[in-house]
């Protein structure tokens, strides 16, 4: 079990983390979700030992590892831009973690080679071991990086925006594949992302961070349906802010004929199985987005429709939030 207790971190005058607490159970797949500057990457790097906290502790199985170096913590780390060793072949990259071991901890050459091959098979890059990273595609490189991280049999797999540099299709395939791998190998994984869709799709638990604090940690369902703060409501999924401080998801709005708030429709397009209708609340600049069943005829542009939330959420201090 990984436990992070009351972690604080400053970079000069900038406070990156204010007293963060987090527990990760074995086998969990955790997403650290937040905008840039929220402290999510800093937290990941502190858990890895690539960065050291100013205060608080990091515990691996109730053992304080705060003062241990990154090498001693035995974590697998996957970098956003792969960080592969360009002058080594793919197989040499994967074998690196084993070949730098000292004395009797180091397996024989044949054993290292066999392990590298096994890992390459696992990441579906069999037969590409002799290539150089420069000869691979982005998605293949990221899989090499993953195989390399897994070679040291890490207790914990940490991934920093692992799909950030990939195009949409590859990203989606790799996402699903990573999820399977995580389950299959019984890993404990934490990944950082700013993509809420990615977090909701992959993670067992989503930790939403903002300005160096954890706003909410919960299942994707909880985070989406029961956001703990206005920030979470806005950052995870889309949210309309209606008069009276009501936070409403686009699919929780319906067109009504008896009362409701008037909205002037100014844009309309098809979004999968929905019509996405965009407009402004009559007499104001408040943008409203709603999703309507695509089997029904959509409202015409320029017309005024009346909307009412089926489901909404209010926050104690709202009315002024963004």
């Amino acid at each position: 079990m990984i436990k992070v207790q009351n972690i604080t971190k400053h970079f000069g005058a900038f406070a990156a983390l204010y007293g963060v607490d987090l527990e990760v159970q074995p086998g969990e797949f955790i997403a650290l979700l937040g905008p840039s500057g929220s402290g999510k990457t800093t937290l990941l790097r502190i858990i890895a030992g690539l960065e050291f906290q100013d205060g608080g502790q990091v515990l691996f199985n109730d053992e304080d590892v705060s003062s241990r170096s990154v090498g001693e913590r035995q974590v697998g780390f996957v970098f956003q831009h792969y960080a592969l060793f360009r002058h080594m072949t793919v197989a040499e990259n994967v074998a690196f973690g084993l070949s730098v071991r000292k004395g009797k901890n180091r397996p024989t050459k044949a054993a290292i080679r066999a392990r590298a091959e096994e890992l390459l098979r696992l990441v579906q890059l069999e037969g590409l071991g002799h290539r150089y990273p420069g000869q691979l595609s982005g998605g293949q490189r990221q899989r090499v990086a993953l195989a390399r991280a897994l070679a040291i049999e890490p207790k914990l797999l940490l991934l920093d925006e692992p799909f950030g540099a990939l195009d949409a299709k590859v990203r989606k395939d790799l996402r699903r594949w990573l999820k399977d791998l995580h389950t299959q190998m019984g890993l404990t994984s934490i990944f950082v992302t700013h993509d809420q869709e990615e977090a909701l799709e992959l993670a067992d638990r989503v930790v939403v961070m903002d300005h160096g604090r954890i706003d909410q940690a919960g299942t994707p369902e909880q985070v989406y349906m029961e956001p703990a703060t206005p920030f979470v409501s806005h950052f995870v999924g889309e949210t309309n802010l209606l008069p009276g401080g009501l936070h409403v998801r686009p699919h929780d709005l319906e067109i009504v004929t008896d009362g409701g708030d008037p909205v002037v429709v100014d844009n309309l397009f098809r979004k999968g199985g929905f019509w996405r209708v965009e407009g402004k609340l009559a007499g104001s600049d408040t943008v409203i987005e709603l999703d309507l069943d695509a089997s029904l005829p959509p409202p015409a542009l320029g017309t005024t429709i009346f909307i009412r939330p089926r489901r909404s959420k209010t926050f104690p201090q709202t009315g002024v939030s963004p």
């Binding site: 090498g71 780390f77 002058h87 690196f96 730098v100 071991r101 990273p133 420069g134 991280a149």
Partner: protein, 287 residues
């Protein structure tokens, strides 16, 4: 041109692919003319001039005992100096890239100074320092180390002249080498020495070789700074460029060109070899 008439014709020359980058013909032609005028024709005249003296005469002057000693000294000291520069230039580049410290810009500008300084000035200054009664020389003398008027002095002058080449070649590559690559090595359990020798060094080695080659080439041809500190004793501390000048002063143009030709061929072979190695490296990295 012809590609307009037969748009689907298969081109025989595979090195000339149709490209959206315009002006290949123009720029390539211009480069060729330029190189011919600036490099090739002057070099060709050296060959022609030395060819005029016949094979026998050429060997007699170009491979005389004095000339061979001079080549050995010039190439040997240039190689030694370039090697020293490779080590310490790498260190300087490392410090300039990795750390922030007050006066960094000043230090960086200092590195380029050998480029700008008239080399004779450097030679005179170094001689003054390292002469047996000079500031540094007086302390080395009791230790039995004489710098001025020995090959060691030549090496010091060439180290001074060649430093910027290594620093400026390595610096951008080192800066470009992401922190994440080192961090990756650390997460995989490599210690600092392993990280340097297995990850950082191989990545910057091609740039280091470039720097070495430039410093070496410069060292072989260097004249101004060396003649003051070397003492110029024939067969002992007489460098090949000086031998050429000596020949010229005696109006022995053929002899001068013969020596120049030998130097040129050696230099070209060495530089070509280094370039070929680098090209192979680059291909391997897929860059």
């Amino acid at each position: 041109m012809s590609s307009l008439a037969t748009p689907f014709s298969v081109r025989k020359t595979s090195w000339r692919q149709p490209s959206v980058l315009p002006g290949f013909g123009l720029t390539f032609g211009f480069s060729l003319v330029w190189l011919t005028l600036i490099v090739l024709i002057p070099l060709a005249t050296i060959f022609l001039k030395s060819a005029g003296m016949g094979w026998h005469g050429f060997v007699e002057v170009g491979f005389s005992h004095r000339a061979i000693a001079a080549y050995r000294l010039s190439f040997g000291t240039a190689a030694a100096a370039a090697l020293i520069n490779a080590v310490f230039g790498l260190l300087v580049a490392w410090v300039l890239v990795r750390y922030r410290f007050p006066g960094k810009r000043f230090v960086s500008a200092l590195v380029d100074l050998p480029f700008a300084l008239p080399t004779a000035v450097a030679g005179i200054a170094l001689t003054a320092l390292y002469a047996p009664r000079g500031w540094i020389g007086q302390y080395l003398e009791p230790l039995g180390v004489t710098v001025a008027f020995t090959p060691l002095g030549i090496i010091i002058a060439l180290v001074f002249i060649g430093l910027p080449f290594v620093v400026r070649s390595v610096e951008p590559v080192l800066a470009d080498l992401g922190r994440d690559v080192e961090e990756a090595a650390a997460t995989l359990g490599a210690n600092r020495i392993q990280t340097f020798s297995q990850v950082i060094f191989p990545a910057i080695a091609p740039a280091l070789v470039t720097g070495f080659a430039l410093a070496f080439a410069r060292g072989v041809g260097e004249y101004g700074s060396v003649i003051f500190i070397s003492g110029n004793m024939p067969g002992k501390t007489e460098i090949a460029p000086l031998l050429i000048v000596t020949q010229l002063e005696q109006y022995a143009y053929d002899g001068a060109t013969a020596i120049a030709t030998v130097m040129m061929v050696f230099s070209f072979v060495i530089l070509f070899g280094l370039n070929a190695w680098q090209a192979a490296q680059r291909r391997r990295l897929g860059a």
